[in-house]
């Protein structure tokens, strides 16, 4: 009886609503969420800890695993910077200028979301390998992209780009141009307008987009494995190592790496929320 009222308290309405379907829709939502997301999440976390925390730490601190995490994190960080720089440029052009084909470019930005990662992977590999359209210009100059860490960064920037553009673009569209015009009429240079008005206002969105791109890149698999070369200790990413461990029937090892990856992306998401909140407050104070 006590348990029943506890359950009831848990889903209790805070305010009366005349609309029907509250219990049905909320019940189905929680049930589906539990079955599809929470239960599998619990399964993998308990599996990784089954041998105790010492075994967990041992599994994620072998030289090969540490190297995979180093490669993954460094590449994802670089890729999010690349995506932030070019994403900001594209978002700016789309938000501020009208030019022929603007709608087509705008639609194309989501290509990395829509294109299956395996397709992106083999396509980028063929473009940047020795005989590819781009590789044939780079290879003779000693610039190797395919099967090196540069290839990993490239593939990760590809999947990360839309996150930056789609975060920044609406913010740039919303900034009132009157503010920039006022600054310009008071004698501010283009650079001052950018540094004093545009940069602070769009910074939270840029950070958000870059962090989302980073999180996506750190867990990315399909687009990276073809171009990476997958040399242990050098160009092997964490997601691939999970699959390799699994193929070797090392379930504990695979789960330990997977849980470390989960923890990492949850930390990124959490600090993103905090950072955004603080940045927004700062901008709010200044205006």
């Amino acid at each position: 009886m006590a348990r029943r009222s506890a359950v009831k308290a848990l889903i209790q309405l805070k305010r009366f609503s005349p609309l029907p379907g509250f219990r049905l829709s909320l019940g189905f939502t929680w049930l589906y969420l539990t079955l599809i997301v929470l239960l599998p999440l619990a399964a993998i976390i308990t599996r990784s800890l089954r041998g105790g925390s010492a075994q967990f730490l041992h599994a994620i601190s072998t030289p090969r695993v540490e190297a995979a995490f180093r490669v993954t994190l460094a590449s994802a960080l670089l890729a999010s910077v690349v995506a932030a720089v070019f994403g900001f440029l594209v978002a700016w052009v789309l938000a501020r200028y009208n030019f022929p084909g603007r709608r087509i470019v705008d639609a194309l930005i989501d290509l990395p979301f829509a294109l299956p990662t395996a397709v992106a992977g083999i396509s980028l590999t063929s473009l940047y390998s020795e005989k590819g359209w781009i590789g044939r210009f780079l290879e003779p100059r000693g610039i190797h992209v395919a099967f090196t860490q540069a290839g990993i960064v490239l593939a990760m920037s590809f999947v990360g780009l839309p996150f930056v553009v789609r975060s920044v673009q609406p913010v740039l569209e919303e900034i009132d141009t009157a503010m920039e015009e006022a600054a310009a009429s008071l004698g501010a240079s283009d650079w001052q307008v950018f540094a004093r008005i545009l940069a602070p206002v769009s910074l939270p969105a840029l950070v958000t987009g870059a962090a989302l791109a980073f999180a996506r890149a750190a867990g990315e698999y399909g687009s990276v494995i073809f171009i990476a070369g997958n040399m242990p200790m050098k160009t092997e990413i964490a997601a691939l190592l999970v699959v390799t461990k699994l193929e070797e029937y090392d379930y504990t090892g695979a789960s330990a790496i997977a849980v470390a990856m989960l923890a990492l992306s949850f930390v990124v998401m959490l600090s993103l929320n905090l950072l955004q909140w603080r940045l927004q407050r700062k901008v709010g104070e200044r205006i």
Binding site: T29, Y32, A218
Partner: protein, 273 residues
Amino acid sequence: MTRVILVVAALFFVALFLVLPLAAVFAQAFAHGWRIYIDAIRERDVLAALRLTLLVAAIAVPLNVAFGIAASWAITRFDFIGKNLLISLIDIPLAVSPVVAGLMYIELFGLHGWLGPWLSQHNLHIVFAVPGLVLATIFVTFPFVARELIPFMQAQGGDEEEAAVVLGAGGWSIFWRVTLPNIKWALLYGTILAASRSIGEFGAVSVLSGHIRGRTVTLPLEVEMLYNEYNFTAAFAAASLLSLAAVITLIVKKAIEIISGVHTPPSKEDFAE
């Protein structure tokens, strides 16, 4: 002048970074002519993979649509304890690597997993079988419909539905006559995102598939297998079908944005009201 330089720079970047990879898929697929291309996509394994891909999407997408509608109805029309927690939990699949998602289901349903022994006693196969592919696909597209509907229905408010209640309408007739017509574009938008990702998902299904040709290989996995067999023309031919689906997705998405105003920032006229 700055404007011209920036536009040209952005266009050059988009061409190099986005258009070229797309074009390369088709160029490689047709490298040896039409006939070889047609033969490659009419290969039995490719057709089986295509059928399986569509089957998996046909199960996963409607389930996530049902979930998206239920979740957004509960979240936007009622005030209850744990609402913010629920909203955060719905986003979890976006933060999980597809490979990790696949592994979760192995730990749950695999032979060494929680439910594995029970499943094998009853001769039920989830891992390395079609149900596993469906589960993986549901997971990676889990929040897509809900995330489109929640902000949209929040902005719309529940006044019209409350009026329908006052006028004596029942639950289902409110849904079909009031809610659904109001949310149809946002719902379609989310459904298309989910369908597109379902068709193209690679990492999560790769872990759960077992790669049994003709039985558990979806089209993206077939692309990988052909590529790893150095059968590049066939791999790109299969990839061209997926790229075509991606291009159609982008066009339909843009069309919905233009027709309905979903996902376009509010213009000044909207504020004037």
